[in-house]
Symmetry: D3
Subunit: 307 residues, 6 copies
Amino acid sequence: MKPELVTKLTQQLGRYNVNDIHADTVMQHRLPNRESISQVCDLFLSVLFPGFFNAVQVGRADLSSYSRKNLYEIDYILCEQICLARRYDCSSHGDELPSDLVDNTKGILEAFFERLPEVGKLISTDVKAAFDNDPAACSHEDIILSYPCIMAIGIYRVAHELYKLDIPLIPRIMTEIAHSNTGIDIHPGATIDESFFIDHGTGVVIGETCIIGKHCVLYHGVTLGAFNPLFRNEEGELPRGQSNKRHPTLEDHVVVYPGATILGGDTLIGHHSVIGGNVWLTKSVEANSVVTIEDPKLNVKTRNKKK
Amino acid sequence: MKPELVTKLTQQLGRYNVNDIHADTVMQHRLPNRESISQVCDLFLSVLFPGFFNAVQVGRADLSSYSRKNLYEIDYILCEQICLARRYDCSSHGDELPSDLVDNTKGILEAFFERLPEVGKLISTDVKAAFDNDPAACSHEDIILSYPCIMAIGIYRVAHELYKLDIPLIPRIMTEIAHSNTGIDIHPGATIDESFFIDHGTGVVIGETCIIGKHCVLYHGVTLGAFNPLFRNEEGELPRGQSNKRHPTLEDHVVVYPGATILGGDTLIGHHSVIGGNVWLTKSVEANSVVTIEDPKLNVKTRNKKK
Amino acid sequence: MKPELVTKLTQQLGRYNVNDIHADTVMQHRLPNRESISQVCDLFLSVLFPGFFNAVQVGRADLSSYSRKNLYEIDYILCEQICLARRYDCSSHGDELPSDLVDNTKGILEAFFERLPEVGKLISTDVKAAFDNDPAACSHEDIILSYPCIMAIGIYRVAHELYKLDIPLIPRIMTEIAHSNTGIDIHPGATIDESFFIDHGTGVVIGETCIIGKHCVLYHGVTLGAFNPLFRNEEGELPRGQSNKRHPTLEDHVVVYPGATILGGDTLIGHHSVIGGNVWLTKSVEANSVVTIEDPKLNVKTRNKKK
Amino acid sequence: MKPELVTKLTQQLGRYNVNDIHADTVMQHRLPNRESISQVCDLFLSVLFPGFFNAVQVGRADLSSYSRKNLYEIDYILCEQICLARRYDCSSHGDELPSDLVDNTKGILEAFFERLPEVGKLISTDVKAAFDNDPAACSHEDIILSYPCIMAIGIYRVAHELYKLDIPLIPRIMTEIAHSNTGIDIHPGATIDESFFIDHGTGVVIGETCIIGKHCVLYHGVTLGAFNPLFRNEEGELPRGQSNKRHPTLEDHVVVYPGATILGGDTLIGHHSVIGGNVWLTKSVEANSVVTIEDPKLNVKTRNKKK
Amino acid sequence: MKPELVTKLTQQLGRYNVNDIHADTVMQHRLPNRESISQVCDLFLSVLFPGFFNAVQVGRADLSSYSRKNLYEIDYILCEQICLARRYDCSSHGDELPSDLVDNTKGILEAFFERLPEVGKLISTDVKAAFDNDPAACSHEDIILSYPCIMAIGIYRVAHELYKLDIPLIPRIMTEIAHSNTGIDIHPGATIDESFFIDHGTGVVIGETCIIGKHCVLYHGVTLGAFNPLFRNEEGELPRGQSNKRHPTLEDHVVVYPGATILGGDTLIGHHSVIGGNVWLTKSVEANSVVTIEDPKLNVKTRNKKK
Amino acid sequence: MKPELVTKLTQQLGRYNVNDIHADTVMQHRLPNRESISQVCDLFLSVLFPGFFNAVQVGRADLSSYSRKNLYEIDYILCEQICLARRYDCSSHGDELPSDLVDNTKGILEAFFERLPEVGKLISTDVKAAFDNDPAACSHEDIILSYPCIMAIGIYRVAHELYKLDIPLIPRIMTEIAHSNTGIDIHPGATIDESFFIDHGTGVVIGETCIIGKHCVLYHGVTLGAFNPLFRNEEGELPRGQSNKRHPTLEDHVVVYPGATILGGDTLIGHHSVIGGNVWLTKSVEANSVVTIEDPKLNVKTRNKKK
């Protein structure tokens, strides 16, 4: 490669940013990065399900020291990544950085870790829900070892706690790592109650302002989305974040079959309802509803065999 | 993080299991783990397609010693993982563990390896099928290097042999590893004949009791599923496993276009049939059928441009 | 494992190839491999978005030397992989290999790198497009860190340049690596203009001969495919490659909602059109069209609760 | 390789053990292993000298959480390795294994960690001693980064605490890891007081029953050894371990120059003595002695140049 | 770095070779490399002492399959490295390469592996010899885990078999890897009988044409060297290799204490002799001799304390 | 481990530093680290001897791009490490840091790289010198692959250039990495002319102010040291660094046999001299001298065999 070309490339590449103020910020500070956060996700899975994901033997007597070392490693890496995210967030918004950023972040992490036992209990209900709903499952262990929803929902539940504590950037990176591994895309802002099961999962999308009750089941390819993400506010800007309820609400015991699409912030699916495969639903339905597509007319012809 | 909090967390996390008897078992014994089984999957791909997946040069003269060392590494890791899986399975069911677990497992593996040449031949027919069906493919090598179905079907074919030998846990972990990498979710219990092609593949689901004939083609987003997984037997429990035929049968030379859904254990698609995109099919069709949706009425309006 | 069995296996496995002439070639020469090309993809992301994907701090002053070293590493690995691909391609087609393969390849790479600043600019427009279209996005940095379309489109844009230079095998392996990580399957032959956004992305398929204009938006599960890939030419063979326009064209500012399918090489979607969710479209529509499915009749019944 | 040969080799190799009872034990239980203990040594160095040995930045505010996570990782790995060592030791001696092996080991580790601050202080005195004695040293940091004695003495000081707690096998493996890296061979049983410096270090040997006072300095190639390790006791067996004082004693402020050899358990070097290079000493000397070799007669001839 | 400088450097560096014909050869062919041979050394240690060097548990039942997979991995890597070494050796000497290089090499390896059980037995005698001679050793396991001579002698014994089969380059790289790890430098050409022990070991040098009998013991810093390596033959060239006996012979049961130097091809140390520390010996001694330095006159003065 | 103990340990460990001002500095800034510098050493060896140390094939045509990428990686890592070292050095000395630290460092590196071709030529003379002096060497390639002096002298020659440019900390870490791998301890401040050979090498020490001429040869265990490093200046401090000539000078064509010790800054060994094994020399000798120990009186007794 000709040296002049490399020089030109190094001058022109990496200028990804359309906003020059941000460009300064990126270069001066480190950003959080996917590699470290991916490591944190692995550690959470090791703490939640010790012995299932890597080759180490965890004898009973050692369980507490195994988890303790993993928790301290989470604490160390996550604290650093959150500090980087907050520093970046402040400087990109022109906000003042707390002078005690590290201690302040440690306080937030303390609050987060206080929530972790509750998160662990919720995930236990998800494992049980998978077993109760899938006739192909042989045992709870089978589910933890080979069902993608456990990773997707587990990481979502952890990320959701960070989201509620207003941590920037990190929660989304966490759920996107789960999305990349499972094809299940859950926004960390979604609110999901206990005993949640997603079967197969590829192509599931659950938006930021969804609310999902207890004992709901989704199949692969289900979208819980915004009716029209392209409406702008009066300034011509998109209203961003949780304040703008754009995604539907599912009450308890709702089942949604493969490929169904439910849209809109006011759309409420009443408890014990069943939404059939491929249904396209933009309005609320009452409790105990069964919604199916009127059988689409199928044309069945005999094939012309000359091929 | 306050020490008391960590102590509390280590006491409360990792208690994922709703069944206390199992909890004992998990802690006392090692489980099979995803990391080791993922390594086994890589080794199978190296044996089936030497030289395609990693950077090592395999000269012709060395091919046999390359494969031999990989086979012995598979033998070693897989034997250990299967022993762990069987031991776990026995203790969780309260069954007695064979006193000669390792030797007994080696016997099973011997039977499995006897089947491997046949598996290799089937996978060769899959490569050829991909080439014959995709106009974007340039060569067989192109397909092995860049078509996700080769990994998904290849690992399924290996896992299916283990499934037929009643190995617990491992086959499902293997196909889930392929699912995570390709978005193609094939249950190891499915029965799939030669020359099988899946194009693109993301979102394909093939259930445990599917039977698929020779020369079938699926596109992405196709579901071959259970009609209603929520029916319970009289005891209110789900009948589990292969004995309960819940998924459809495809005879030879069936093509199913993107997004189609075929459901039910009694649903049989006759040979040389073509199922169109997005079709939702819950009944059998005769051989040589062409099934399409009656063109859905499309509303085409001119857009209001004031946005 | 009995020694005779291993000997039998090593004789029979790895004979994947239906075409014996090719088998010779594979064994004698190295092929390009996924491991090395995956490394190249990571390096491109590091050059395009320095500091976002790995843990290294990139101080402002060092940016150019950081990018320079990464560019030379790309140059080195990619040159080797392309030489392997070209040598393989020549021998499998019976073509003569250029005597100056390495120098000739370096010339091609030079041309490729000349295009890279332009590619970088296009990707910047994609980042901006994501921010402008998704109300859940907080900042450009948020998008680079946690939107799968950035990896999928970024790697596609790089691979497309190699595709245009007639490099065999490599471009498809690159986009398949992105597909495996994101569920977004873009053929490197597709032609995509600036400011392109894909939301969520799982299950998106964009075919080899697609043409997509500026400022288009796709949601997850959208297929831009061939009408019928099974038509054969008069010799009974599939016409392969770009010469055969089989996939649709989208003009500027087209939005396609989740699950929509647009098929056929003559299908043209006029600018500023909106294609609704799940629409199945095989004909052209004029500019400013809004195409939706006529509301499918939904059956809403009250559920029989005795379950 | 012919299969019969491999079978023969697998039957005959690994039977390293001359003692058949031990052979059983080795096969049934895991042994501690060098890989894990090497990892523990690295972690101790990270805790004792945070920021000096690996690439991670340790900001001041994070120092405590960085050390905490490393301490818990040491605790976890070391506990496992010590349990393995003790179990092995018991079964090879026919002793009964404590029923509460893990808890008992945790108690021992607690005692060990209580000693660690004292160990840290001693190592600080060693750093200072190196600076005070070597005119080539620029700063304390220079010494920690580039003097092999810091690793050798640091790991010895840690291993010595484990030795005093009667942990079998592990302490020797630790100091041998340091020996391999530095050429300095200190037996973990040796007793070494504060402010100890070894310059260059290659070839230094310090035996199990040595006693070394404060502020001593050794150069490379110094041996503090046993007078005659081949004397047997009446049963014709070697008396083993610390009970048999076989190595010399150095009082405070002793300097020993390169290549000197001091032998014997009754040999005592009085304080403030200097032992010259290459001296071979088997008897005690009083305090303040300067011991040198009478200048060996050197023959100096002019060289015959016809070579 | 200025591009022109890099260009200059890439033109000038790597031209290490003073012999232009060789330079061609190096560039055209691969050489064997230290990384791969280091891996082979680790595998030999795993086969000779299963369970001692890495973290894997080897249950009794699995020992044979563990060793079998390791042997095949040795076979694969070593075959490749030997082929590279032989090809290089031929082309640098202008010899013709055997047309069946790989098969011919496999034949050599077969002969090598036939010798391996004998090598294993010799190494067992070395372990026992260490236990019998060192009062600080607690058990045979202690010795395997923490005595550097086990690695140094073990790798020497393997390399010596390759040396006897006239394999170029590889044996020396193997013993140099052991030298780097232990400070013990044994030339693979040396002939060493059973039950050989080296204590501490740093600085030991054993030359190419040494012959060492049974039950010999060396301490650290012992040199068994050539009397004068600088004598030239009539052509002014050094006679190279084994044909030129330049290093001493030790009969059975010889003990050599630290720092002793024994030189010359005709120097023979009779059986049961003891050579004292620091002795410089260039002539033969009869059996049962005890050779010590006449006590060097030591000057012992009282130190001038004004420092 | 009890939480209070961990808290206590984290408060007390890592306070290694006896100088509180420095302690502040360490915590606030990153230090250079061994891991990164070890990587730089590997890269230099790859640039100086492409193809010898790792498994990558370097075809002739690719040599320049292989070296170019390695040079840029050296440039990147070394620049960062030098900046860290200089920043640390300034703050620990209270000096002002240059405002253009990075650019200034790049200038220094430019000067360093300008010297590299000269360094490469010197190292070529060292390879040739090893071949000319060791009858056990088969070829230049044999020497590069298996002689420790190549790594030790090669890294010294690179480090010496950095030392001459007043880079703090880094050069010593580099030569200490070589020392750890080879047992050869060369201070980067020493001045060594072309064609330098060290045989075996373990235990060699070459001090900071040594001057060594062309075509010198050292054997293992040779010390070129300071006469008395413990003399203090009037302030009771050690005079530090190069200004204080403390180590000997060897003119051209000097050979020093194993275990010899040459001390003192005024000691000059005239050209073509030979210093015998174990000689202890503290005075100058004229050119063409042959210095040996007068044969030490050896006591040869017959052994008392009753043992």
